[in-house]
């Protein structure tokens, strides 16, 4: 009982989503410390199709647990959650964790609701305190982090994207098929009609070597758009704070921080960003941080290796003028 930790292995087009491999890194540490097994759970219509996926062969876990059924060819929220709940009921794991992808965010709360257990969202660090699992995430207030725990089993959480780096394992994990009971109901109320695969290239924010980020201090959407020119000149990607995304200046997939992605570039440039913890947890591991802000007391100025005290808009304009 409670001797297993399960990570959800999200699969798309016969490849494991790297976000699922990221979460194995902290879970591996926790599972070794607590002497528990670590399984990557994969739901698929045909596991042999994943044979070519080399990333999966290096996954940092003890075993890959496979539930195979033709009804699992497409992601159906209600069926997938029923399958995972059934696996949990049979194996009685210590913890079940999901990457905070849209699929993870759709599934984890369903599983928690079906089982009536606790679920923490967007956790970006895991720690053990007297063998008790503590989940850490930013909370209300300036620079305040909360340590959360769950009174129920399995302990469940979604883990922030990019918060952990993928680590590979020398030996191939064992592959174990898991059969659900004969009378399991494979029906779903959801039918997938078609998937119009996204045309725009996914941004490479989480792995970018240079990140040029902007906050409300840039004053307008037009000014924010100029960051794309600077990012191009530096061979980097554009990131944003939460308020900027909420103001609609840029797509939410560029949000850095607690409910967005974490970045660890060689160079991070923050224009007009004061540095609320909801943002800084997602960039604090950047190698070199440059902050541009009028407010010398801003948290990001304190974090930065070099701070430019001044108007972010004006400095950005001069930079672009000089670079043209």
């Amino acid at each position: 009982m409670h001797n297993l930790i399960i990570a959800f292995g999200e699969v798309y087009q016969n490849k494991i989503n790297p976000a699922s491999l990221e979460i194995l890194t902290p879970l591996w540490e926790i599972s070794r410390a607590l002497q528990k097994g670590l399984s990557l759970l994969i739901l698929t219509d045909n596991f042999s199709k994943l044979d070519e996926d080399i990333d999966l062969k290096k996954a940092l876990c003890d075993e890959i647990l496979v539930v195979e059924n033709r009804e699992l060819a497409e992601f159906k929220d209600d069926l997938y959650s029923k399958v995972i709940s059934s696996v949990i009921t049979h194996l009685n794991p210590y913890g079940v964790f999901f990457p905070a992808t849209l699929q993870g965010m759709a599934l984890a709360p369903r599983v928690a609701g079906e089982l009536g257990v606790g679920l923490c969202a967007h956790v970006n660090a895991l720690e053990l305190e007297d063998d008790k699992l503590i989940m850490i995430r930013p909370t209300y207030g300036d620079n305040i982090m909360a340590k959360l725990f769950s009174k129920s089993f399995p302990i469940m959480a979604t883990l922030s994207l990019g918060a952990f780096s993928i680590r590979e394992k020398g030996e191939k994990p064992i592959i174990k098929k898991f059969d659900l009971p004969e009378d399991f109901d494979w029906s779903s109320k959801i039918r997938v009609k078609k998937l119009k695969a996204t045309k725009k290239e996914m941004n490479r924010l989480s792995v970018a070597k240079v990140v040029v980020a902007g906050g409300l201090g840039l004053k307008s959407r037009e000014n924010f758009q100029k960051l794309f020119d600077l990012a191009e000149a530096l061979g980097g990607e554009v990131g944003a704070t939460r308020p900027v995304c909420h103001a609609g200046w840029v797509e939410e997939d560029r949000m850095i921080g607690v409910s967005g992605v974490s970045v660890k570039p060689k160079l991070y440039l923050g224009f007009g960003i004061s540095g609320a913890i909801q943002h800084t947890v997602g960039m604090e591991n950047s190698e070199f941080i440059i902050a541009i802000n009028t407010d010398e007391g801003a948290p990001l100025i304190k974090m930065a290796h070099i701070s430019l005290i001044g108007d972010a808009e004006k400095i950005l304009d001069y930079l672009l003028k000089r670079l043209k």
Binding site: R110, K147, S152, L195, M303, I309
Partner: protein, 269 residues
């Protein structure tokens, strides 16, 4: 189509947040509440379906009594019925304890075809309540929906996934969360705003919902806060001051030293 239920949430106006020093949960009673911005998309979509299919829309909110003005905002947009779910026993709830209350209230409104919520609240930012409520009711859920239509007792939904836009056919009843982006939000009706002033509406407690108190609020929440700590950043870097132009030049020199302008040099050549 049967009725549509919309669940909305009051969130503290930025800057008015107070945190309970013991439980580390938000003190909602003391904060000035505004409508959770993503919930506007849920209300707007419900009103569009109301117009298109002539269906009744019930709007409910769980929270302290000061969420009442937000329900009246929903009335001004066209809601037919309002329900306030309010009880001291609901305070400090995590997403599971919240979902239990919403699920029970929704169950009481059977028959319904669709429950719409915003993708997430801007205070908790978990996005968990819509699927969690659906699971408790054993209903299908779809998150991050960008479009809905209905015919022959089926909903046709488009959702945004990490891989692209996906079209689904779903058998009602179901719970969805709406992506916050819509190209149009209707303004409230002036006439209905005036009517809303003296409007009284249903308020339900834990007892009205027939819910056991040990499953509610902070006590009924399996996730707990063990403690909080402040991240302290010590001043570690150089601070440059001066005219913007001068600072920009200094920065360019630094980037060049760091070899970060190579790409640009190639473009200019």
């Amino acid at each position: 189509m049967e009725r549509i239920i919309v669940c909305i949430k009051g969130v503290p106006r930025p800057g008015t947040v107070k945190v309970d020093p013991e439980t580390h949960t938000l003190k909602r009673e003391s904060a000035e509440l505004i409508l959770n911005p993503p919930d506007r998309a849920a209300l707007e979509m419900a009103m569009r379906l109301r117009e298109r299919y002539g269906v009744e829309v019930v709007v409910m909110s769980m929270g302290p009594p000061n969420v009442a003005p937000l329900l009246k905002e929903a009335f001004a947009l066209g809601a037919d019925e309002l329900i306030l779910l309010s009880d001291r026993a609901f305070a400090g709830a995590d997403t599971l304890a919240t979902s239990r209350v919403l699920a029970q209230a929704i169950r009481g409104l059977t028959p319904f075809s669709l429950v719409i919520m915003g993708l997430k609240s801007v205070d908790g930012e978990t996005a968990q309540v819509p699927p969690e409520t659906a699971a408790i009711l054993n209903l299908p859920s779809v998150i991050n929906v960008i479009d809905i239509s209905y015919s022959n007792n089926r909903f046709y939904l488009t959702r945004e996934t990490n891989y692209g836009e996906e079209e689904l056919e779903v058998e009602p009843p179901l719970i969805i969360s709406m992506n916050p982006k819509l190209e149009y939000f209707r303004p409230p009706s002036l006439k209905r705003l005036l009517q809303a002033r003296d409007l009284s509406f249903k308020s339900m407690t834990a007892q009205d919902l027939n819910l056991a108190e040990d499953l509610l609020g902070l006590k009924g929440s399996p996730t707990q806060v063990a403690g909080v700590f402040e991240k302290v950043f010590s001043q570690r870097g150089e601070v440059w001051k001066g005219e913007p132009e001068e600072l920009a030049d200094k920065l360019i020199n630094l980037l060049r030293e760091k070899g970060l302008l190579q790409k640009l040099a190639l473009i200019n050549r």
